[in-house]
């Protein structure tokens, strides 16, 4: 007699919250890095160390370009605000 038995399971999620603001760029970059690269605890130490180092480099790169994206988006919004006569609001936004 042959039995085929499978087990279903549910993974562990993380919950990240913020008060009176959104998540920081560093937090979002960490989320992205975690999605892009998973380093198994049981991986051989030399490989795991290299992977962790690469992941940190990846995170720093993500932070840099996310900052660029935020700045460029903010510049676009400020330009639109000025075009529509809201220069003070645009100046306040640029100062953030």
């Amino acid at each position: 007699m042959l039995d085929v038995i499978g087990a279903g399971s549910v993974g562990s999620i993380d919950v990240l919250t913020s008060d009176n603001k959104g998540h920081s760029i560093e937090e979002v970059a960490q989320m992205a890095a975690d999605r892009i690269l998973y380093v198994a605890d049981e991986a051989p130490p030399p490989i795991r160390d290299q992977a962790i180092a690469f992941k940190d480099t990846l995170k720093q790169t993500l932070i840099y370009y996310m900052l660029q994206a935020v700045e460029q988006d903010r510049a676009t919004i400020c330009a639109k605000l000025r075009q529509n006569g809201y220069s003070d609001l645009a100046d306040n936004l640029r100062s953030l």
């Binding site: 279903g8 999620i13 959104g22 998540h23």
Partner: protein, 151 residues
């Protein structure tokens, strides 16, 4: 425990009946709803969720706030795949912004097919955002970690 993390037992049977399709393109729509224990839920109701849960329920669901609306929001499916002898499904992370939420757990359910429950997620403790962002980050899509796994 009123909210216990589990793959719903009914879901295991429904998978064998092709009730659920997790494909990114052409798959079913899955939603994630948030629940509270004690205070935090609508009308101060307390959620009782676990392996025996079969369908989406409103008891204990958190109230609408910011971009979170009662009934939950649709998740973005990521094509199921395999790793070793394990098959697994994954979803993109989900954020609710400008939200004041206190939640102890969540339910993923099939919005396409009768609101049938897939799994219950236990946050372990109350998680709170105040006029901020409440983000669910799913585990890495791997054989030993993915959110929904069949080994």
């Amino acid at each position: 425990m009123a909210i216990a993390q589990a793959m719903c037992t009914a879901f295991k049977s429904e998978v064998l009946q092709a009730t659920h399709n997790f494909k990114a393109s052409g798959g079913n729509s899955f939603k994630l709803a948030l629940y509270a224990e004690g205070g935090g839920g609508k009308s101060s109701t307390t959620a009782t969720l676990g392996a025996t849960t079969t369908v989406f329920v409103t008891t204990g669901e958190v109230a609408s706030s910011g971009t979170y609306v009662t009934g939950g929001l649709a998740l973005t499916n990521i094509d199921p795949t395999t790793g070793g002898t394990t098959g697994f499904a994954d979803f993109a992370d989900k954020s609710f912004t400008t939200a004041t939420i206190t939640a102890m757990g969540a339910m993923i359910y099939n919005d396409t097919n009768g609101n049938k429950a897939v799994c219950i997620l236990d946050f372990g403790s109350n998680k709170t955002s105040t006029s901020g962002t409440f983000t669910i980050t799913f585990p890495a899509a791997a054989a030993s970690t993915a959110i929904i796994r069949i080994a």
